[in-house]
């Protein structure tokens, strides 16, 4: 079984430790040897997305040095994974080892489906789940087919969830519209960001979601913030939490 360097986004480390632990549980139950290098902090995305690439560059180099020797790097976030795989190139133009490395960095569901070749995980999760397709996972990592594109349908997160016994899906009217988090966008454009989020929440309510899940906790942090403020009877769970719960006897 492969040896995996676990890449836990900074906000998961600080605010959602249970998501990190669930990721470890899922990987270990599948026989993966997991190692969490404690020198890691943040991939640098907030700075890069603000345009402050000088501030992001040292974090990108730290990341590479910390993780470069692992066979695979796995992360429970499509957005942070995409930061490394899609947006790090500029920082490593004189580092030939980066190119092969970035293709070993995987989002969790992608790793389970593409590397571990898992069709069905087993276990049960008897709930009605609304899947939020987080943008960077969907449109940068292509973890599923976006509604904009024409071609055969696939969705790696949904495929894993669909294999759980008892699960049902709430079918949304807008299957992959952005939740409005968008990093610093959430505060820069607070009004639009919150309207986008509330529209997503309303779509889930209409569709009858009991739990909103996503492969990115940042989207869920934003949606949960709105849900708690409005005291709505919805819950959010990272997909790793659902998979870990289902796999735990």
């Amino acid at each position: 079984m492969p040896r995996v360097g676990l890449f836990i986004p900074c906000y998961i480390d600080q605010f959602y430790p249970q998501v990190g632990l669930a990721t470890v549980t899922v990987l270990e139950r599948l026989g993966v040897e997991v190692d969490y290098p404690t020198a890691q902090t943040c991939c640098g995305q907030p700075m890069a997305n603000t345009g402050c690439t000088d501030q992001a560059a040292p974090l990108a180099h730290r990341f590479f040095e910390i993780f470069r020797d692992y066979e695979y790097v796995v992360c429970p976030s499509g957005s942070c994974t995409s930061m490394v795989r899609t947006h790090y190139d500029d920082y490593f133009q004189s580092e030939p080892a980066f190119e092969p490395f970035k293709h070993r960095v995987f989002e969790l569901c992608e790793f389970l489906v593409d590397v571990l070749k898992i069709d069905q995980l087993g276990g049960k999760f008897p709930h009605k789940v609304g899947l939020h397709n987080s943008c960077h996972g969907l449109r940068e990592l292509r973890l599923g087919k976006g509604s904009e594109t024409v071609g055969p349908a696939y969705n790696k997160s949904r495929q894993l969830l669909a294999g759980l016994n008892g699960i049902s899906f709430a079918e949304l009217s807008r299957v992959d519209e952005c939740c409005g988090f968008g990093g610093t966008f959430a505060v820069n454009e607070e009004a639009v960001s919150c309207m986008m989020g509330l529209d997503r929440v309303a779509d889930h309510e209409t569709a009858g979601s009991e739990i909103i899940t996503a492969s990115d906790m940042s989207c869920l942090m934003h949606l949960e913030g709105l849900i708690r403020r409005q005291k709505k009877p919805l819950r959010v769970m990272h997909i790793a939490e659902i998979l870990a719960e289902a796999m735990t006897p």
Binding site: P17, T38, T41, G51, C52, H136, L138, R139, V150, E190
Partner: protein
């Protein structure tokens, strides 16, 4: 145009638009409806993605060979009897058009939709010189009557409700008070616009595609107003940006299939009118405008934005545009593509537009010519920081954040302190005017321990180091 004293920030205008929640919701739904129509149309063509790829490579070729294609177009169009003019900027474009109109003693011109003439602010310029220009596209005419710019490049009056159109028409053209039936209003507009078509001494049109090989060009409309506008007068002036060129006539087969499907979810525009030289006894002038396009052409990062065929699909899909309205961008071309083009022209004024984006990437995937819009917006953010247009508060916070994140001990410390403060501070300390996150949202419930602490304990329990 924002003034120097009040610095334009998209977020302010967006906040004002969202404040009228019912209208913002209606606007969002109206454009989402167009996006869904586009999806259905795209899905009706199994070769859709191949078509986009082809269009993208034709445009890439065109942009790479623009100088020679422009010369070829000029040669061919001249051979067909057209007069070809080149304008380096908006002012020169306006002067050329005015000169032609004055030469012919024109007092009234009928104009069909042209974002280029909007970009050059041709209407007010001609008005100042005593020439009456009437926009004959229904939506454009509505915004012209309201004395405001279009809010969308394909659907110029998408921000206006039909009841408001009814009031406007009642006031301006004497329709019945309170009438808001679209058919009734459209008929009234048609009657009124017919007068313009009859009276106009010149027709001004935009151009969707100019074909270098033939010297001809194509104008796409749904209302036939371009054809009507140039059918009676002897004088036709066609204005276009230099990026509107395509190499060969056969390439129209690619672009015409993509344009209407992407724009409005129609298989093709109702009218795709081909012009090859002046009509018998008439005069045709073609004005090719640069107005900053060669600057974009020279930039490796943003060159691909010249691929744009102005279909507006990126606006219809943009979750921000749909909820903030086209006017919130304060730029002739709003929305995602406009947020690349506007800072190319004036980065200091439009610094906030690349940030009016959640980086969802939906625009890239609807774009019929595959412009990597959200990546270019990200590149613009870097440019804006490099050129020093980013507010100091943002620069400082990012620098502080980076300083902390480079030092694991400091990061751990800051994390613990932050979580402690979140758990124990009274609510008013956290939720106040300084916390934009907390205006409508709760912050996450801060756990006692971080993942890394819990992981260490777990490893110790399992007998691992």
């Amino acid at each position: 145009m924002p003034t120097a004293t009040e610095k334009f920030n998209h977020a302010d205008d967006a906040t004002a638009f969202v404040a009228n929640h019912a209208r913002a919701k209606w606007h969002d739904q109206a454009l989402w409806f167009v996006r869904q129509k586009r999806d259905r149309m795209a899905n009706s063509l199994p070769e859709w993605e191949a078509l986009r790829e082809t269009a993208s490579s034709i445009k890439a070729y065109t942009i790479a060979h623009l100088a020679e294609l422009l010369e070829q177009f000029e040669r061919q169009a001249t051979k067909l009897g057209a007069h070809v003019h080149f304008a380096k900027d908006a002012a020169e474009h306006n002067e050329i058009v005015l000169g032609i109109l004055q030469q012919h003693g024109v007092k009234k011109a009928a104009k069909s939709k042209s974002m280029l003439t909007e970009e050059c602010h041709l209407n007010p310029f001609l008005n100042r010189h005593g020439i009456d220009v009437v926009d004959t596209d229904l939506g454009e005419w509505i915004v012209q009557l309201r004395n405001e710019p279009p809010s969308h490049i394909v659907l110029p009056a998408i921000h206006i409700k039909r009841e408001e159109v009814g009031e406007l028409f009642h006031e301006k053209i004497g329709t019945e008070k309170g009438a808001s039936d679209p058919t009734y209003l459209a008929r009234a507009a048609r009657r009124k616009l017919r007068e313009t078509f009859m009276e106009a001494e010149a027709g001004i049109t935009g151009v969707n595609f100019a074909v270098a090989e033939t010297g001809g060009f194509v104008v796409c409309t749904n209302e036939g107003n371009a054809d009507l506008g140039v059918s009676l007068p002897k004088l036709h002036i066609a204005c276009l940006g230099i990026e509107k060129l395509i190499p060969q006539a056969k390439h129209l087969a690619v672009f015409l299939r993509l344009l209407a499907r992407s724009a409005t979810g129609q298989p093709i525009t109702t009218y795709s009118s081909h012009f090859h030289g002046p009509r018998p006894g008439g005069e045709l002038h073609i004005v090719l405008v640069d107005n900053g396009r060669t600057d974009i052409l020279r930039s490796d990062e943003f060159r691909r934005s010249l691929n744009c065929i102005r279909c507006g699909a990126c606006m219809n899909t943009c979750p921000v545009y749909r909820r903030s309205g086209g006017h919130s961008y304060q730029s002739t071309i709003p929305g995602p593509i406009g947020s690349i083009l506007a800072p190319s022209r004036d980065a200091e004024t439009y610094y906030s537009l690349p940030y009016a984006c959640s980086l969802c990437g939906s625009c890239d995937d609807v774009c019929p010519v595959k412009i990597d819009i959200h990546h270019q917006l990200l590149t613009w953010r870097r440019e804006i920081a490099v050129r020093g247009y980013l507010p100091w508060s943002k620069r400082l916070s990012m620098r502080m954040m980076s300083l902390v994140l480079r030092r694991p001990w400091l990061y751990r410390l800051a994390g613990s302190l932050g979580r402690f403060a979140l758990r124990w501070s009274p609510r008013f300390m956290i939720y106040n005017g300084l916390n934009a996150w907390g205006k409508q949202r709760e912050l996450p419930l801060a756990p006692k321990q971080s993942f890394r602490a819990l992981y260490r304990q777990r490893q110790a329990k399992n007998g691992k180091s």
